[in-house]
């Protein structure tokens, strides 16, 4: 298996975070990360940035008026 360059690896870091890699692609990226501190740090930053944005997507309660309208629509 041909080793990945940093550029190739960095294109797949998001897919790794999203658990969307498997098989040879996953092996190749993990192999690269074992040897490349810079890409490891980039991966860690991407993970933090994801969490940072997620935390700011606050949950909103379902407005009662909307629930009432939808229930009326489904029972008319």
């Amino acid at each position: 298996m041909k080793p990945l360059t940093c550029e190739e690896a960095s294109r797949q870091l998001f897919a790794l975070l999203d658990r969307a890699l498997a098989g040879e692609a996953l092996d190749a990226l993990e192999g690269h990360l074992e040897a490349c501190l810079d890409c490891c740090e980039k991966l860690e930053f991407n993970r933090k940035l994801d969490g940072f944005v997620k935390e700011r997507l606050s949950d909103s309660a379902l407005p009662e008026a909307l629930e009432h309208r939808i229930r009326r629509l489904t029972s008319r």
Partner: protein, 201 residues
């Protein structure tokens, strides 16, 4: 008369089945719409429109177990199609964007020379509303999959089903969505004077 009664009964049954399949997902759908639009009134309108469309199309839903993905699919399509017809086209290839790296820029510009946790401290400077504004600035075609991923934790396979596109397209939209978000954050930092120079990469 008998036919009219039968028809009314069928309609009642249809609405009953529709309610049973879709109402358990109303809260999740609203939360998604609110995160996606950043606006409670817009989110309410979107959810209502989604339910109206879903009610009309309900006979085409063969498996009620798919109702949640189906509702998210209708709402996502509404958002993407509406904005596609207004202003934003599907963005074309942008090599600068694909290569953009907030991580690298922070290293190069070193906006906090005394920090020993440079990247963490850089992010800590953003106000919550600035992060949300950066997300809202993304074209819908990128924002929809990113919010589905962040808020609903969907897998690429689930995203492909909701967005009605191949998994490779999901991967590329998530990649470019995140890169656009990084660029928006960097531009926000530059506007606020948190960084002194701007190098487009």
């Amino acid at each position: 008369m008998g036919q009219a009664l039968q028809s009314a009964r069928n309609d009642d049954e249809k609405r009953g089945d529709f309610a049973e399949a879709t109402l358990p997902h109303l809260g999740a759908l609203y939360r998604f719409a609110a995160k996606l639009t950043g606006n409670a009134a817009t989110a309410e309108d979107l959810v209502q429109e989604t339910y109206l469309k879903a009610l009309q199309a309900f006979p085409s839903l063969r498996d009620p177990g798919r109702a949640k993905a189906w509702l998210f699919q209708i709402l996502s399509r509404l958002v993407v199609d509406r904005h596609r017809s207004e202003v934003r086209e599907v963005p074309t290839a942008d090599e600068d964007l694909d290569r953009f790296s907030l991580y690298d820029l922070i290293w190069e510009e070193d906006p906090l020379p005394y920090s020993d946790r440079l990247h963490d401290d850089f992010l800590a400077q953003f106000r919550d509303e600035e992060v949300r504004a950066a997300l809202m600035a993304l074209p819908e075609v990128y924002r929809v999959p990113l919010v589905l991923l962040y808020a609903e934790g969907m897998t690429y396979k689930e995203l492909a089903e909701v967005l009605e596109c191949p998994m490779g397209t999901v991967m590329s939209r998530l990649h470019r969505g995140r890169k656009t978000l990084e660029r928006e954050l960097w531009e926000c930092a530059r506007r606020r004077g948190l960084v002194k120079t701007w190098k487009r990469r």
